[in-house]
Symmetry: C2
Subunit: 461 residues, 2 copies
């Protein structure tokens, strides 16, 4: 946070002050001038009330967890389509996507000896089941993949726990996705992973895993940080710990789902598209409020506000609520396949899938030529308190089309520590999201989207 604050301060010194946009002197270069008025209107409207937060609460309260293949998700998709239509967006449509249906079923992980202790656990998405009645075995606690390799002889017939302290998502998530296969290679009968995230309140984190082409597939689950610590301490004391893991997890037949789209059609270059989006599915626990309902609401707001204010940029702005990001990416892949012919017409793709917790920022990945424009537009976000646009644009759902069309990408990034503390947990609810953070996200995304869609020259590749 300190580093960000310093960035903001440095930028403020360079470009202007943090007074409200209505009263402040113009920031940034002259080419932005024709867009300033609409940007001010969009930013003011986004922050005028808590409309976006209320819509987020309505979505998450009414439909809750929205895992691919669930009735909750399909009902939510119908609601989104109907609500976009009511908002007056153009070309509102749901485009069919077949998605996997992974069902958790009943599950538990219990220390049976020393005296019984049920652990806080969540099976990992994609895991197979245990045999009925579960698997009971001694636990081998390892610190990382290397430690497992060093103690390979002890893994046979055991339940391996990867007790890897959280540093960043990127560094620790490989133990969630690949731990089971690594443990199986050494003869383990099941694998557990310390929840990938900072310690919460005994909150395990679920998330995707995959077996790759491994032939031996063992069941796998996350346990809370506290339970992992406990197994570590018991192990360090030389106590033999027996755990019973029982899981009913399995795949059922693929189910029909859909990506939902709505547009503001460009007044001059309607075939050139600025794509903004999110994923509409979530895991089956919690309400998926930060991951990623809020990303859907914030990007949706960009279009709703343009429509409400009668703002029609030169190019088309397309909103995509993608299905099945969490455990298949079928939505993003289907979009690429369906829109391959127009991939190169995508001017910019922006995804919001990291929450909106303050302090937030925008990231960009693209050519230097494009970055110069994006950096300029970023100056318009300074009245909202944003730091300059950083690196690291992108998103899982926009990735396939962006790759196909060499499309510059952006990401809206909330504070990572707060996000990863609750993401993929039952605590991912609307209660911890501040209305002003949703409003700011909407204002920032609307600003960036509108200017890129409205600038006379197309954003360079």
């Amino acid at each position: 946070m300190l580093r960000t604050s310093l960035c903001v301060l440095a930028a403020v010194v360079a470009y202007g002050s943090l007074v409200p946009s209505s009263a402040q002197p113009a920031t940034g270069p002259a080419w932005l001038s024709p867009h300033r008025d609409n940007v001010s209107r969009l930013q003011a409207a986004a922050q005028a009330d808590d409309f976006a937060w209320q819509r987020l609460a309505e979505l998450t309260d009414t439909y809750g967890a929205r895992i691919s293949g669930s009735e909750n998700l399909e009902r939510a998709i119908r609601w989104a389509q109907a609500t976009m239509t009511k908002d007056g967006l153009a070309n509102v449509r749901a485009e069919k996507v077949m998605v996997p249906r992974w069902v958790r079923g009943q599950e538990s992980a219990v220390i049976v000896d020393p005296p019984e202790h049920p652990m806080a656990m969540l099976g990992l998405g994609g895991s197979v089941a245990t045999p009925p009645g579960g698997i009971e075995a001694d636990v081998l606690v390892v610190k990382d993949f290397k430690d497992l390799d060093a103690r390979a002889a002890q893994a046979k017939g055991r339940i391996v726990l990867f007790n890897v302290p959280y540093t960043t998502y990127g560094e620790t998530v490989p133990y969630r996705s690949g731990g089971a296969t690594a443990a199986a290679r050494h003869g383990a009968v099941a694998s557990l992973v310390r929840a990938v995230g900072p310690m919460g309140h005994r909150t395990p984190h679920t998330g995707g895993m995959n077996y790759g082409d491994a032939t031996v597939r063992i069941p796998t689950a996350a346990i809370s940080v506290e339970d992992a610590n406990r197994l570590q301490r018991l192990s360090d004391r030389g106590v033999r710990v027996r755990v019973r893991l029982a899981m009913e997890a399995h795949f059922e037949a693929d189910v029909e789902s859909a990506n939902v789209f709505g547009e503001i059609v460009g007044r001059e270059f309607p075939k050139e598209v600025v794509l903004v989006g999110c994923h509409f599915d979530s895991w089956d626990i919690g309400a998926g409020a930060s991951d990623d309902a809020v990303g859907c609401i914030a990007t949706w707001e960009a279009l709703r506000l343009m429509k409400a204010l009668g703002i029609q940029p030169r190019r088309t702005v397309r909103l995509g609520l993608f299905t099945n990001e969490e455990n298949g990416l079928r939505g993003g892949t289907a979009y690429r396949d369906a829109y391959m012919a127009s991939a190169a017409d995508h001017v910019l793709a922006l995804e919001s899938d990291s929450g909106v917790f303050a302090p937030a920022s925008l990231g960009f990945t693209g050519s230097d030529a494009a970055r110069r424009y994006i950096n300029d537009i970023g100056m318009l976000l300074m009245p909202l308190g944003f730091p300059p646009v950083g690196p690291g644009g992108g998103g899982a759902d926009i990735g396939p089309i962006a790759q196909a069309g060499r499309v510059p990408m952006m990401a809206y990034n909330g504070d990572a520590t707060r996000y990863f503390t609750i993401h993929h947990t039952p605590a991912d609810t609307v209660d911890r999201i501040a209305p002003q953070d949703v409003a700011k996200a909407a204002a920032a995304i609307a600003t960036m989207t509108y200017v890129v869609a409205d600038m006379p020259d197309r954003l360079p590749k």
Copy 2:
């Protein structure tokens, strides 16, 4: 925290500085002088290592949740008795107490319409079960008892939710203990209470409830703050919400348990007793680390350190690990009954049952004459950073004997917000307790206990 810091500061200015006790000038009046050396030794020994934290971790890791009537509790009691003996305490004994055995069984609370959403819930201790298959009914959300009375006509046949925001434990716990009976009076079929505590991570808080002499007994459970908020928002939007509550909770026959005692026998007045204690049972979820394993370890340390340092005060110091505080108080009551004849020989009773989270403090309840001594001894805690001793001594387990013998009482109080955020939840584990906070508690309790037990004149009534 600010207020406490200012108190400490003011006290430091008045009495001395915060340099280590070994190097600092004497604080407090002259009568303390003969005790200073041993106080310094006790405080230094308590803080020399993380022995107390390690013992706490061993207890909670090995035995976990210790609800009355459980095998975990009885195993932990045997461990405590054996370990006290190893410590060299005198008169180590377990005194039989019959305790209730309330069994939670399977339980769930699900919003069935709008789309299904399982709530984070915990049945309240003492609740009856639902019929098999559960109770399904519309929810009536009320803000408090008055609101329920005003909407009494709507309660019939419904599940009433008391959605009362947490202020203090004292103010909000009546909805947990008495909500079911109030709701039943108006014809409700079940009652839910918003978890009594600050919002955690979707963490419900269990805790005791009682039906008094009510003839109609309806099942009752706590739901997480987030789930209560959600029901409130749905209700505010005019949505009819149906919930299915299923609970198997029931009492089984009373079970034999025990209070465990150990002593440092007084060298001059062995019949005069300074009683320090805690409760050794917990709820059936979490590990009861802050509530109240840490209180047991911290008070136990006072005696262990005296023994280890060869310190034998004039009066007897007695440690009591009481059973069944959480749902019956049979331990504290049995102690009073067994020791009624010597109730008046209790010089002081101190209980630690509010955790040890910083900033901590000591509270005292007794005569002004006694308070003058306690305030003086409190000055010896200033090098540890404690504020002056405040009001509010006491504790559930020491209450009965104190009332019988008109015994002055003290309490060790950890920070209430941190304590009530996790108490009675699965997140009450050793992981969030700092070793230095346990050491400080042990140092403070050892200081107070030793001086009161060793001062030439008996502490006035």
